[in-house]
Amino acid sequence: MISIRDLQFTWPAGEFCLRIPSLDVTAESAVAITGPSGSGKTTLLNLIAGIHPVTTGSIQVADTGITQLSDRGRRTFRLRQIGLVFQSFELIEYLTVLDNVLLPARISPVIAMTSGLRERARDLLVRVGLEQESARPVTQLSQGERQRVAICRALLTDPPLLLADEPTGNLDPDSSQRIVEILLSQVREHCATLLMVSHDHSLLSQFDSTIDFNTIQSAEPVAGGSGAA
């Protein structure tokens, strides 16, 4: 599903450099990524999602070479193929629960706002137990409920790839478990691939595999890289 080769990414200021010689994630698997804070886990997810352009190297998601896409192409790909879940939920506070779930369709012409899509948004809310809250502002929800709304937003287009960046970081153990169950059910029932960053070791046993971020990084410039420090 995901194939990374000779990846190198440097922030414009040059204060951080991510180097990954090789990384493969098989399709329809749930993979957890662990590692110390500041090691570049979030950056890796952003590179896979095409939020940041890579400096050198290649990232292949399914049959699409992310690194070959234009900014517009990466946005379109992200909207259609990738579901993103963030640690801080990143919901729009002036929208209701339902409108937050429908946000991807509201901010881009790539996803058409159809009655079918609205129906899917409502189904997702039923699936995560928030059907009664659909008309409420998200500011009135608990942290766990907010993360469930964020997951519904990520699943709106039924994406084959889910990237979750510490989605349980701000939640209590029960809420964390529920969030992981929802994400894993998407993998099991809808044949999706999940890549989730987590510091919570109690959750890792539920994943198909775990990647220790320290082991996949290279201290030296990767082959074909620019050699930036």
Binding site: R75, R78, L79, F86, E90, I92, Y94, R106, I107
Partner: protein, 400 residues
Amino acid sequence: MLHNAFLLAVRSLWWYRGRSLIIILCLATTLWGPLTVRMLVNEFQDEILQRAKSTPLIIGVPGSRIDLVLHGLYFQSALPQRLTMEGAYYVRDTGFASAIPLHVRFRTQELPNTAAAPIVGTTLEYFEFRRLEVIQGQPITRLGDCVLGARFAQQSGLKPGDRLLSSPRNAFDLAGDYPLNMRIAGVLNSSWSPDDDAVFVDLRTAWIIEGIGHGHQTLSGESKEQLLESDDSDTLQANASVLPYTQITDENESSFHFHGDDADFPVSEVIAVPKDRQSQTLLLGRYSSVRGSSAICVKPQQVVHQLLAMVFRIEQLFRIAAGLSAIVTTVLLGLVIFLSVRLRAPEMRTMQRIGSARGTIALLVGLEIILMLIVAVCVSLSAAALTQTLAGEWMRQFLF
């Protein structure tokens, strides 16, 4: 896409409604000033030009042309020096125009809910000239009758058959002119002009108020006991009782008379209605040459244009001030919007991370600004219309 962006913009404006309201009010206030002034000036221009256009010439004694025209049109500016009826006869005798004399010197006494109205002494030709018709009661049929302008009648609640007192020229001068207790004969139709606020009497009635004409009391009848000092067999002697006003009745009307030649009686101005353009030119020529020292003949339209030019100069100054204010407001609002966008940076970053283009986010912010502008324009237009309604009358009184 636009529909979705519109929905997001509306939700955002409502969520940040305190900030939105402040921006809208700032914009609306900035727009309201120039808009209101423009609307008031337009209304003032239309009103004054319409009346001026419908009044071909005004004749008065030499002096302020503006005062003469405004007094002749609105009955409200400073009283011009007095002309005599000879001025009206002169116009008539030239054969160039018909003459409508006006004598506007006195006002009615103030009523509980109504300000004093100007008493306009004129002839029946004035009503025809201004297309004024009696819609309630009857026209003036005798001395001491008056007809009321529509608005004055409505505000005062007076109706045909009621009585209305003129205001004495000097309340402390016992030897001066006494108020005339006028009988209200009728009420005129509404003309949306200063005529609606006036009280009209026959020119001779105006002269009676002025003290030029008078009547004599008969020491007989029901009032005899109150008026007699002594009644010996040969002579009736009246006492010194002073009546608070003059009243013309069917019984005493015939006793009212004038001494002297009415050509010497005063009028405040004369409206001349030329037969045609050539007659107008000839009449103007006469006044600029033959009668130039004793009277002037002016075209109200020209004088009003001069007055408007002055008003527009003042408006231009106001526009400059409003323009500067608008620049300052725009800069401040720009700063507010910039800071607001900075505060909302996380929300915009989220949209970008999900897949929104920068252009879409710019569209959202732009739509919010446009929506606030539209609301501000609506608010300022409504406020300007309300101000125009409320302040229109005040402005006219202030200007004249």
